[in-house]
């Protein structure tokens, strides 16, 4: 198996900073905006973005929740699925929701996420933020508004995002 580093720790940090500034450009002081990270891997990115935004804006009250989409997937029965925790302690009715995931691949997870979100209200609008966009591999018409890095990859390859909090180091690698 060969591995190729897509983003190292330094580039990783710069990318997160850029995404945060793009968000601020659009959402100003986040009065009507909330962040929702998709379980299991999107929640680390969502929390990182929340922390960085609060540091930059000197705010303490940017809402960030975790959404599990297992019960909404369309590949139920095709593989074994383990549910994770959903933790959204705010209402998303009439809010601008920023949906966050680490890797955008087929788009099926995001489709399920849009379904799952409806149980918490009707948002004013929904935007998608991803760290890695594996373009040309979409199964459904879904595009991200904010993208960390776009890469070309084939289906048999794997993108691995590692986090300081859980894996000891921020890093993105392509495994093939």
């Amino acid at each position: 198996m060969s591995t190729k580093i897509i983003l190292d720790t330094r580039q990783f940090e710069i990318t997160i900073q850029r995404l945060c500034h793009q968000l601020i450009e659009q959402h100003n002081r986040f009065t009507d905006s909330v962040i929702i990270g998709l379980q299991p891997r999107g929640i680390y990115l969502a929390q990182r973005i929340q922390n960085e935004l609060q540091k930059i804006l000197k705010l303490k009250n940017i809402h960030c929740g975790d959404l599990d989409i297992t019960f909404y997937r369309d590949d139920f029965r095709k593989k074994e699925l383990i549910p994770n925790r959903t933790n959204i302690d705010f209402i998303i009715e009439d809010k601008n929701v920023i949906l966050v995931d680490d890797v955008l691949f087929t788009g099926r997870t995001i489709r399920a996420g849009l379904d799952a979100m409806q149980a918490f209200g009707r948002p004013k609008d929904v935007e998608l933020l991803v760290l890695v966009d594996r373009r040309f591999s979409r199964h459904v018409p879904i595009q991200a508004k904010y993208v960390g890095i776009t890469i070309d990859s084939i289906e048999s390859q794997n993108v691995k995002v590692e986090w300081k909090e859980t894996d000891g180091k921020d890093k993105i690698t392509l495994l093939s």
Binding site: D68, T70, F71, Y72, F76, R77, E80, L81, I82, P83, N84, R85, T86, D115, A116, Q118, A119, F120, G121
Partner: protein
């Protein structure tokens, strides 16, 4: 572990400790779902479930039906009293006729012990046992364990006493299997006529004195006297039973520690448990009912998600 080791839920005896833990942790996620403003998820939208109740039931039947609907499954209900069973149709024929209408799962309650196993061997559908005679009632045991876990955390080393009509109770047997697999110490308490002679071979101790049993335990699971299953007299009178084995408030308050009081329902107030105990803060009877829906959702979800071997 991300999947069950079985294709059917026939009893707790047939499943492993890992299965029980998987069901309980999945139920945790469903409990969050049923407390949302919109309580429905689309997981089982392509599944049809038949609820076959050859015996009376309120809680279990409603709980299963609600669990199925919250998972978006299609549901058909059947009760023996107004069906062709009265015209002499056999169980296998009845079920095969229902399955011919393309049903994927069957939830069944039947008066004969082993009815669910019998069916699982003969028909092509996933079977969930919702009570077979005095044998097993697996989902009740699972929701009891889930409710205990909510109160006490990890159950390993905890002490549970099951009080009442152990002889005729399927809840007792399933609870014993389930709790022992989770590392809980179990005692049973009741008139010796209502305790099966060989119960100690399951590793369960018998404590004929209610006060001693309650002083020992963390949780007391109070069972109903199943008069409908009793063909002979097992004790002189209900009044005497209630005096010796009924739990009342003065007894509960006089115990050295606060124990958790459970009851699988239906309650006979004033017999095995008095009203002020049933409605006290130590009783988690209604939590058990709420958790029943979450646990049954987990069982349906995990069984439906399993590809047939």
């Amino acid at each position: 572990m991300s999947h069950l080791s079985v294709n059917h839920l026939l009893g707790i005896k047939q499943i492993t400790k890992q299965d029980i833990e998987l069901i309980l942790s999945t139920a945790q996620n469903f409990k969050e779902v049923i407390n949302r403003p919109i309580k429905k998820v689309p997981s089982l939208r392509d599944i049809t479930v038949a609820n076959l109740f050859f015996e009376n039931s309120t809680r279990t039947r409603l709980s299963f039906e609600l669990a199925q609907k919250r998972l978006s499954a299609d549901v058909i209900n059947f009760s023996a009293s107004n069906s062709s069973v009265k015209k002499g149709e056999t169980l296998v024929d009845t079920v095969n006729n229902i399955l011919a209408m393309k049903v994927d799962m069957v939830v069944m309650r039947h008066a004969s012990p082993g009815a669910a196993l019998f069916l699982a061997k003969r028909v092509k559908a996933k079977i969930i046992n919702a009570g077979d005679g005095a044998h097993e009632h697996p989902t009740q045991a699972l929701l009891d364990a889930f409710s205990m876990q909510e109160q006490l955390g990890d159950l390993k080393g905890k002490k549970v006493v099951i009080v009442g009509d152990i002889l005729h109770s399927r809840v007792a047997l399933s609870n014993i299997f389930c709790l022992q697999k989770l590392g809980v110490k179990v005692k049973v308490c009741g008139p010796l006529t209502l305790i099966p002679r060989y119960i100690t071979s399951l590793g369960v101790e018998v404590e004929p004195n209610l006060r001693k049993a309650l002083e020992w335990c963390d949780v007391a699971n109070m069972l109903r006297i199943q008069l409908e299953r009793q063909d002979i007299k097992y004790f002189p009178s209900l009044r005497e039973y209630s005096m010796l084995y009924g739990l009342d408030k003065p007894m509960l308050d006089s115990l050295p520690k606060k124990i958790v009081v459970m009851h699988p329902g239906p309650i006979n107030r004033g017999v095995e448990i008095t009203s002020d105990v049933a409605d006290s803060s130590q009783s988690i009877i209604l939590d058990q009912v709420e958790n029943g829906v979450a646990v049954r959702m987990a069982v349906l979800f995990l069984l439906a998600g399993r590809q047939n071997d």
